[in-house]
Symmetry: C2
Subunit: 393 residues, 2 copies
């Protein structure tokens, strides 16, 4: 056999995630492991909760990182809040709304789908219509920032509509947290999940979640046990919410939590508003460059996420060949399309530590070089200048 240690290549990660992980966070991962009930560790957990409350802009006590990736965070929201027979309105405008539907069904709930075109925001009027047509609905679920398309929906308005009809809300903020405003308390979100590997610049593998008092009450008062033992918040609370006297539930992923702690400390140092502003400004520079190249965006400007840029692949261009050359010649990863958009778009992430001037110019220069050499119909010699002009302004 004789397999050797693995030494990964050094990439620039500008896909839909994982995005570039900051060296401070990589270093934090390698600090000595301690026990998951060690008083020093318990103190760190309290800080992680406090820092996550800041990131989510909430005072919810039930705010913690699920010990698994974002799709487990999604599942923890549905498994805890959906009871068999519950009617759940799911707004779908991309891949992840479809995954929400799967979750509702697997929890024994009944999904009512509200469809919007991929690449557009969720239409509040359609949600309102669905709520009126389904007065017995218990929950509304939607994706704040669709990772598959780069569209951003108006979470505040959608939550308001849901509450007007006495529904709790589940919101996917995997790609938005730390990149664009996410205001859990101000907007009244009841359950929200995110990921660590996007705008938080941390490694993949954890999923921050937060539940409002109303959601926590619903979880405590369920008539059926949560079908997942691992994700049952009634049990997880005993560990994460137990103060000094914590009950063992599962063994926490100690070193991954060191990484998350460090990434949240860095977010606090930069300031949430500054992080949002950085993502917005860098988006404008990338956009100027990509448009100067002749590429066009999938999502209308007013519904666009600054941190995840879906652009149409020019006619006749070999999607996989371009991505492969970017990776092999420039160590640059950009993302393929997903679901209905597979083969039609590239997804270019500017998330967290990847949202930097040097990444923008690398991406534009490398794309221009590869596309020009492949004979694609693009403009040459103008894109870098267009991006630099915005960066310098």
């Amino acid at each position: 056999m004789a397999i050797s240690p693995f030494n990964p290549p050094v990439r620039t990660l500008m896909g839909p995630g994982p995005s570039d992980v900051h060296p401070r966070i990589l270093e934090a991962l390698s600090r000595p492991t301690i026990g998951h009930l060690d008083p020093a560790f318990v103190g760190m957990m309290e800080e992680v909760k406090e820092l996550l409350q800041y990131a989510f802009q909430t005072r919810n006590p039930l705010t913690l990182p699920v010990s698994a990736p974002g799709s487990a965070g999604m599942e923890s929201c549905f498994a805890n809040l959906v009871e068999p027979g519950d009617k759940v309105i799911v707004c779908q405008n991309g891949v992840f709304g479809g995954r929400m539907k799967e979750n509702v069904e697997r929890c024994g709930g009944q999904p009512i789908m509200v469809q919007d075109p991929w690449g557009r925001a969720v239409d509040p009027q359609k949600l309102e219509d669905a709520l009126q047509a389904n007065p017995d609905a218990r929950l509304v679920a939607f994706v704040h920032a669709e990772t598959s398309t780069g569209a951003q929906s108006d979470a505040r308005t959608l939550v308001e509509l849901a509450h007007k009809h006495d529904c709790l809300t589940i919101v996917d903020a995997v790609t938005s947290l730390g990149g664009t405003p996410v205001k859990v308390d101000e907007w009244g979100i009841d359950a929200i999940y995110s990921g660590t590997q996007k705008c938080l610049s941390c490694i993949p593998g954890l999923s921050p979640v937060s539940f409002s008092e109303a959601a926590a009450e619903k979880i405590k008062g369920r008539s059926h046990k949560v079908q997942s033992w691992f994700l049952d918040m009634n049990l997880v609370m005993g560990y994460w919410g137990g103060g000094a006297k914590r009950a063992y539930h599962h063994t926490a992923p100690v070193n991954a939590l060191y990484g998350l702690h460090e990434s949240l400390v860095m977010l606090q140092e930069e300031g949430l508003e500054n992080a949002w502003a950085r993502h917005a400004a860098n988006h404008n520079a990338l956009k100027a460059g990509l448009e100067a190249l002749g590429l066009s965006f999938v999502v209308p400007e007013s519904e666009r996420l600054p941190q995840l840029n879906a652009v149409s692949i020019p006619e006749g261009v070999d999607d996989a060949a371009v991505r492969s050359r970017l990776l092999n010649e420039f160590n640059l990863e950009i993302g393929a399309g997903l679901g209905d958009l597979a083969g039609k778009v590239w997804r270019i992430g500017l998330m967290g530590h990847a949202s930097r001037a040097e990444n923008i110019v690398l991406c534009i220069a490398a794309l221009e070089a590869v596309l020009a050499e492949m004979g694609a119909p693009i403009n040459t010699g103008v894109a870098l200048g267009a991006a630099q002009k915005v960066l310098g302004s």
Copy 2:
């Protein structure tokens, strides 16, 4: 707010896990993150599978690490193999058999409990009786190495009995993998899960699993969808089993997998048989020391796990005070009792990188110092010599 970076104390981890993580593995965690669909990463995943097949002693193609801690590995076995209404015989001789029961119930199955005393192996005769009394049972589940007591059961015999009665088997090997023999193919185990934070010397947060062909067939032919989307092996297989053409399921915990890869490379370097021998030899040295101190083991010698030593707390000794002094004065973590054994035993782990001569002498010397100062009824001045004699032999 102003929370500072977290710098953990340097501990010696001799509890029930996490155990000491080898510096090579800590360093591997901090290597640069790459994409979860990067060809370089996909190549590493293939190596992880091959190395896990070696650790499990199996050729099962469906062998992979679940992207979450051991309790999610347990849940992945039950959620994939139990269908609503299935009768599942669960042998319980400690905390984790009870968690298996919870899993069966939450999957809509019907648990038939076979109880053995805590601190003893599972009695094959009781399983045989239960199988005869329940000819419609579909599955048998048991814990190979009970982390709550340190008892080891005869997995080969229990699996043989289950198969004689046409039941598939689910085996918990969280504490045994890499520490004592686990022979999936030779013993005919159908589904097995483990953890990375014990005898593999890796960080907590991943759960290696393996499914036999018969188990994989059952999963593919289910009449109900697996209730967990995140743990559905039909979907996970598309990512881990997809060869060069992998389908996105969830974002893999990239850096944690670097750590697991490194720990499995180290296991390969040492050789599985040598690792088992090291755990056995070091157990003998620790045992000589602890018995010379006057402490007694909970589990009879023939049923004892070498890597997890449960000893009775001497009469009148304050459990928490001793563990707290060991931690504060010697940076040494040993484990408390769990469930029925809480307050009655200490659990001293010698797992993976923690199974070393220096840890044995530290543990004995520190325990002797603290217990003597607290006036506990122990023998002084003889324990270290007793351990050293075995170490030197």
